[in-house]
């Protein structure tokens, strides 16, 4: 008996639906936690990150 025989008769089609439900549940968790009021301040700060290149304290010449 080959692995494909076992798999063909194992009735696995329900697994795909379980995966879909799990993915959807996880997605809903992501949505909820993204919009949680407690996160607003942190995310607003995060949004500013690209605009901050760091505090320049000195200059150092580099041979090109």
């Amino acid at each position: 008996m080959k692995l494909s025989d076992i798999m063909s008769n194992a009735g696995l089609s329900i697994y795909a639906e379980i995966a879909l439900v799990l993915f959807l549940a996880l997605f809903i968790v992501v949505v909820i936690r993204t919009w949680m009021p407690s996160r607003r301040r942190g995310l607003d700060e995060a949004a500013q990150l690209p605009l901050d290149d760091g505090k320049v304290v000195a200059h150092h010449p580099e041979e090109r």
Partner: protein, 749 residues
């Protein structure tokens, strides 16, 4: 230079954990290197694109030279623009933004240089192998196994450098652009490894370990996600960094960007099978692919809106700043192609568009518009910062913007028209119920004006590239004698990121959930984050791919389908190395207009011995799945020698070299053995493949002479290729004729 300067004393106000501040600088040298590589390969890749566009408008441009023929150059074009142009552009932006977002120099300058030179060496090796016929025949994964191994090594070096930088970061929160980079790096690794699993039979030759339907499934799982995780997510990361930079304000909604990210990671990986609608792929797989593709529309447009609205309050700047102009068109093109992608994935739309130029138009809206314009905007924004001088010519930027925009419009309008025209002509019936255009070449000749217009559009875009290059070089020439390297000061990341003021532990499950400390912990753990991303990608992949391998009903076998004879296998390898699959499909869809034209529709069981599968994705010429037996051997000799001597309006390159190039009989046994190792029942051929091949070649060569053709072809590639072509679709006819399975034509000696 050193990148960890002596630490300075901390200011008095710092938190207790950060008693010292660290000093460091960013490595911009590597960014400059990648920027130049982007320019050089962009010009090369697009010039090759222009050449193959001209070849379709007039076969003269194949110059009767094998290594300049369309079939061999088309993969060079796609590889050069995807992996060399867009790849180097992604690396340019990623090396610049990652360091600044994480407040850390790259983990290792040496690994960065290894990544740079390694990647360029891979591109050079692609240019040295693809035109000479060394190919795995899988779209965007054509490169042969030694180069694939090199890609894996260089990619891992990049990943180590990237994750090492994350580990050493001085910024707790990992900005969303970095998430997109992480997803791209890990997913491309998985895709590359699994799609390229092959059995080598020589230094530059291998056979895919998968066959037929399974190989097709793996390939388009890879192919679609190469678009997703090489051309989409990396550039979205760039968008989320450079758009706020250029607009001088934060992204419109950071929350939306998080949602954008997770939706793409969850959904993209499922969408691949929409490339195989109405083929021999099981229907459930194609439906899954379609549904996820349609769902992708929502997050893609969420991301587009997020990008465009980042300009809120700054719209007046768009008129003055060419960088923003490039970004606005790029994001609009992202919106257009991510609307069109889901639409094309709907089966009934796909029935019309598949195998036509519509797909080529769709792809070029995405690549020329989204990837090209994102790159141009980003590079123009970087130039004054990297070369520490003003941009040489703002006017040239404007000219570049307009000429490239006009180029895109000319290109896509022409090719959309060509696609719809050809799709409609294929399916047209006349009033008597017969095909209105039974001769395939009629549907090709009709496209010539549009192919010329495409070449004009492409020329505009390429001229834009030269203006771009000139502006870069002139700006670079004005650079200072010595680059100024700012020294940055930042606190190292504390081991714990709990708030300094300890709050009382929240009571109850909901309170703990709302407090969201668990989440901050989670977010601070890039390793866990990466693992979750991998999990989403792998789980989705397994659920979609495993059933075709393990559930028997997905690939029903057909008793009359037998393996190729040794000579046919050799001919098939010539078919592969000439890139015939770039223009000819071998997959007849179950529509009346297809079966009328080409014969019975293709079944999954027909390609069980096809390592790799050769279903193709475009019909510049007719489908060949049932080509065997349609014409006598001599017809094929004349046709390969000079296609226009047989079909006046054909645009196929001439393959006269097949009359003189010798067949590699000596190497046949090794190839048959490799097939046997992959599970192909080779029978007698396992012991005497060469003798069998020679005998079959002799039979065919004698037949050609009897028909009035040239002598002495028995050891030439022409005969091997004809043996393969005449075998196509042969076995299934044996079954329908209800006769016992006969040995393939000329298969025994």
């Amino acid at each position: 230079m050193t990148h960890a300067l002596p630490a300075a004393a901390a200011p008095a106000l710092g938190p207790p954990a950060a008693t010292t501040l660290e000093r460091f600088s960013y490595d911009d040298d590597i960014v400059r290197k990648f920027l130049f590589a982007t320019l050089v390969w962009g010009i090369v890749g697009m010039l090759v694109g222009l050449l193959i566009a001209l070849q379709l408008a007039n076969p003269f441009f194949n110059f009767n030279t094998p290594w300049l023929s369309f079939g061999r150059l088309r993969p060079l074009h796609t590889n050069a623009v995807i992996f060399a142009f867009a790849g180097n552009a992604f690396f340019t932006g990623a090396y610049y933004s990652t360091q600044r977002l994480l407040k850390a120099r790259m983990f290792s300058d040496g690994l960065g240089r290894f990544h740079f030179w390694g990647w360029q060496a891979i591109i050079v090796s692609a240019a040295l192998t693809l035109p000479f016929g060394f190919t795995q025949a899988k779209e965007y994964a054509e490169l042969e196994w030694p180069i694939d191994i090199a890609i894996a090594i260089v990619w891992v070096a990049f990943a180590v450098n990237f994750f090492g930088t994350i580990a050493r970061r001085r910024e707790r929160h990992i900005y969303v652009a970095i998430w997109f980079y992480i997803a791209s790096i890990v997913t491309v690794t998985i895709l590359h490894v699994f799609n390229n699993l092959a059995l080598p039979v020589g230094i530059l030759k291998s056979y895919s370990i998968y066959a037929g339907v399974q190989d097709a499934f793996m390939q388009w799982w890879y192919g679609h996600n190469a678009v997703a995780f090489f051309l989409t997510t990396p550039f979205l990361g760039l968008m989320y960094y450079f758009m706020p930079k250029a607009a001088e304000g934060p992204v419109y909604s950071y929350k939306l960007s998080i949602l954008h990210f997770w939706s793409l990671v969850f959904m993209y990986i499922w969408a691949g099978p929409h490339h195989l609608h109405y083929t021999a792929l099981p229907e459930w797989a194609s439906t899954t692919g379609m549904l996820f593709s349609v769902m992708l529309w929502a997050p893609s447009w969420g991301g587009m809106i997020n990008g465009l609205l980042t300009l809120r309050g700054a719209w007046h700047k768009v008129a003055e700043d060419p960088v923003l102009k490039f970004f606005v068109v790029a994001i609009t093109a992202y919106g257009m192609s991510t609307f069109e992608g889901p639409m094309l994935s709907i089966r009934s739309v796909n029935a019309l568009a598949h195998y036509t130029d519509w797909i080529i138009a769709h792809v070029h809206t995405g690549t020329l518009g989204w990837n090209g314009f994102m790159t141009f905007g980003m590079v123009y924004w970087l130039l004054p910062r990297l070369f520490q001088t003003k941009i040489y010519s703002k006017r040239a930027m404007e000219v570049h913007f307009w000429i490239a925009s006009i180029g895109i419009v000319l290109y896509v309008v022409a090719i959309y028209s060509a696609g719809v025209t050809q799709g409609l002509m294929w399916r047209a019936f006349d009033e008597t119920g017969r095909l209105a255009y039974p001769d395939f070449v009629e549907t090709v000749a009709k496209l010539m004006p549009m192919y010329w217009m495409r070449a004009v559009g492409g020329t505009f875009y390429v001229i834009g590239m030269f203006i771009f290059g000139w502006n870069i070089i002139m700006t670079w020439r004005n650079r200072p004698a010595v680059y100024d390297v700012p020294v940055i000061e930042a606190a190292p990341l504390a081991r714990s990121h709990e708030p300094v003021v300890v709050l009382p532990e929240p009571q109850g499950v909901w309170a703990r959930f709302r407090d969201a400390r668990w989440h901050r912990r989670w977010e601070g753990a890039p390793l866990l984050f990466t693992t979750l991303t991998i999990l989403a990608v792998v789980v989705a992949s397994l659920f979609e791919i495993i059933p075709t391998f393990l559930i028997k009903s997905n690939v029903p076998t057909i008793a009359s389908v037998k393996p190729y004879t040794p000579l046919e296998l050799a001919g098939r390898d010539i078919y592969i190395s000439e890139g015939c699959f770039n223009c000819h499909s071998q997959m007849i869809r179950p529509f009346r207009y297809e079966t009328e034209r080409f014969g019975d529709y293709s079944k999954p069981g027909e390609s069980v011995y096809d390592h790799p599968f050769l279903w193709g994705s475009r019909r510049i010429g007719p489908d060949l799945a049932r080509e065997g037996g349609k014409y006598p051997d001599l017809w094929h000799v004349r046709h390969f020698q000079d296609p226009r001597a047989v079909t006046a309006k054909s645009i196929m390159p001439s393959y006269a070299q097949l009359l003189t190039e010798p067949t590699d009989f000596g190497g046949i046994q090794k190839r048959v053995d490799a097939m046997a190792m992959l599970g192909v029942p080779s029978g007698d051929a396992i012991n005497r493949a060469e003798a069998m091949a020679r005998a079959q070649a002799k039979t065919i060569a004698v037949g050609i002479v009897e028909q009035g053709g040239p002598r002495g072809l028995e050891d030439k590639q022409m005969v091997a290729l004809i043996a393969y072509i005449q075998r196509l679709g042969h076995d299934i006819k044996v079954q329908t004729a209800a006769t016992p399975p006969a040995a393939p034509r000329g298969g025994t000696d």
